[in-house]
């Protein structure tokens, strides 16, 4: 993976991170009144995937669930619309106030809304992919992956050899219950047992890059180990010890990373400010 591409990924991640920091602050001061599910810490999964997929000139169908702000932003969703959604503005919101943080929907980027039941996006995404035969990307968490209907649906997707990519954003937590308490098996092994490609990796863009050659050729599952910086819901921090991929990448990119972060922070802060004024 060349540095140019890595910078591109960092730019997207920076947009997501600075968005989430604003959302965190506005949630903390109660400007945002609905529950929000922040994706800070997990930005590099959608930022890297969208960069690689767009490079292939593919605009996939996207199915996600809560903690999907970074998915929406990385795949080209309008930041202004997401702010409106979080502020619950009835008049301007894409979903007339029906969506909220947990159910981001965008016709423009072909991102379908979520109903609130964890993991339902997996069979629904598979059905959409089966009928349309369009490249489809389905995001789920390590907890959603445990849903019985997720497992049954994965098996069917494998039988039908669909052009679909399953991403498990594995932050090791279901609210605060660790994976090892809930199960003794791994999703990439489950995928392999269903006779599809399954890999376990971390959210380093260089790692994700290795698997792009398989995207949408047949079903594949990537279990990407990542870290949630903030609480399951709302504006709070579980620990200061959590590894932060964003800081790591910024350090790697040195002054370029600093510059990008500063520039995008200004831009994102300004959009938030303007949107808040408008509302």
């Amino acid at each position: 993976m060349d540095k140019k591409l890595r910078i591109k990924v960092f730019e997207k991640a920076s947009l997501c991170r600075n968005f989430e920091i604003n959302a965190f602050n506005y949630s903390k001061n109660r400007t945002i009144k609905i529950p929000i599910y922040l994706s800070a810490g997990q930005e590099f999964t959608p930022a890297t995937l969208s960069t690689l997929i767009f490079n292939k000139k593919i605009k996939p169908l996207i199915f996600a669930q809560h903690r999907c702000h970074s998915t929406y932003l990385s795949f080209g969703g309008k930041i202004e619309n997401l702010i409106v959604e979080l502020l619950g503005n009835y008049r301007l919101s894409n979903t007339r106030g029906m969506g909220g943080s947990a159910s981001i929907y965008s016709k423009e980027i072909k991102m379908y809304g979520h109903d609130g039941h964890m993991g339902t996006q997996v069979p629904i995404g598979i059905g959409a992919c089966f009928t349309s035969r369009k490249p489809t990307i389905v995001f789920m968490g390590d907890a959603s992956a445990e849903e019985d209907y997720v497992l049954g649906a994965l098996g069917w997707a494998s039988v039908k050899k669909l052009p679909i990519l399953f991403i498990v954003e594995d932050n090791n937590l279901s609210i605060l219950t660790e994976k090892k308490v809930r199960r003794n098996w791994h999703m990439h092994e489950v995928a392999r047992s269903f006779k599809m490609r399954g890999y376990d990796l971390n959210d380093n863009p260089k790692e994700i890059y290795k698997y792009q050659k398989y995207f949408f050729k047949e079903p594949m599952l990537l279990n990407i180990n990542t870290n949630r910086l903030f609480w399951h819901a709302g504006a709070g921090k579980d620990s200061d010890e959590i590894f932060d991929r964003y800081l790591n990448e910024k350090k790697y990119l040195g002054s370029i990373g600093e510059r990008i972060d500063k520039k995008i922070k200004q831009k994102v802060d300004e959009i938030w400010r303007k949107q808040l004024e408008k509302l």
Partner: protein
């Protein structure tokens, strides 16, 4: 020559696959019997899609197909399977238009039957869908009704729950309301009970009572003509709603509605409040003509006191 409900459904499905290029999903569709003879002998290449036995996931896959504007037909061989098949239909497909302005129309064929087949395969379970917004519930028992509701589905963007019953598959006749003149009492019947309600009416009329009958096709939204309501409000002793599901659901809810609209007492009758077993002594069947007429006689006798 008139065709049966079975032949009508089969023809509609063939047309849906061949001409409309739609899809039909379900489990064990292409097996012996072809779902009571209601499916044409077509396969995946024609759009007849075999789902795996993962019940809950199956409903999600169909929902995803509907999001792609395919108007899928989802066959649920026994209505009780809906407990596991319905979750994503009612929580996603039915709400998609309202929440995201993205229609997700699915035609769900829930097939009822009963008699020594236990609590899941037996009876109708349409009350299960009733509380959810965005779902239309119909229960066609005649060829004409089935054609009408398919046409309606194809022209709309909603989820249809079509509460079928195998007991109606051989039926060729249309069922007509009797709402003329002043009645002593009116039977409002749903699903398979409509056939036994007709027999009960005959029995009561032999005893000298004037009995009206209203056949319900549209359960949700509840459609009942003004003339039919007038028949109930002009009746001497009100009416009764008969259903092939437990009364604590659609029947009691609709009885409350009709009561408000007519200011008459509306009773209900459906499955007993117990699980169905397999031996005839412990089965749980929909009310038959004797049970219906006896129940009505009891109501009429009480009312006269």
């Amino acid at each position: 020559m008139a065709e049966t409900v079975r032949e009508t459904i089969k023809k509609i499905i063939r047309n849906h696959l061949k001409k409309k290029k739609g899809k039909v999903f379900g489990q064990c569709l292409t097996a012996v019997g072809w779902v009571g003879g209601t499916l044409p002998e077509l396969y995946e290449k024609d759009g007849m899609i075999e789902l795996s036995m993962a019940d809950v996931a199956g409903g999600g896959i169909v929902t995803g197909s509907a999001l792609m504007k395919n108007r899928p037909i989802y066959v649920i061989r026994y209505q009780g399977f809906n407990w596991y098949n319905a979750p994503m239909i009612v929580n996603y497909a039915a709400k998609s238009k309202e929440i995201w302005n993205t229609p997700c129309p699915v035609f769900v064929r829930g097939i009822g039957m009963e008699g020594a087949i236990g609590p899941v395969a037996g009876s109708s379970h349409h009350s299960l869908y009733f509380r959810m917004p965005g779902v239309k519930i119909v229960s066609p028992m005649t060829p004409g009704e089935y054609k009408k509701i398919y046409k309606s589905f194809m022209s709309e963007e909603e989820v249809y729950y079509v509460s079928e019953h195998r007991g109606s598959f051989n039926n060729k006749k249309e069922l007509i309301d009797d709402i003329t003149g002043t009645k002593d009492f009116v039977i409002i019947a749903i699903s398979i009970t409509r056939f036994q309600a007709i027999e009960a009416k005959k029995k009561l009329e032999k005893k000298g009572y004037k009995i009206g009958i209203i056949h319900i096709l549209w359960i949700k939204p509840f459609k009942i003509s003004k003339k039919a309501l007038k028949c109930v409000s002009n009746s001497r002793f009100g009416g009764i709603i008969i259903d092939d599901d437990y009364v604590d659901g659609i029947s009691n809810s609709l009885a409350n509605k009709v009561n408000h609209l007519t200011n008459k007492k509306i009773f209900t009758m459906g499955l007993s409040d117990k699980s169905a077993g397999f031996h005839k002594k412990v089965d749980n069947l929909p009310p038959n003509a004797d049970q219906i007429s006896n129940k009505i006689l009891g109501i009429l006798n009480n009312a006269k006191k």
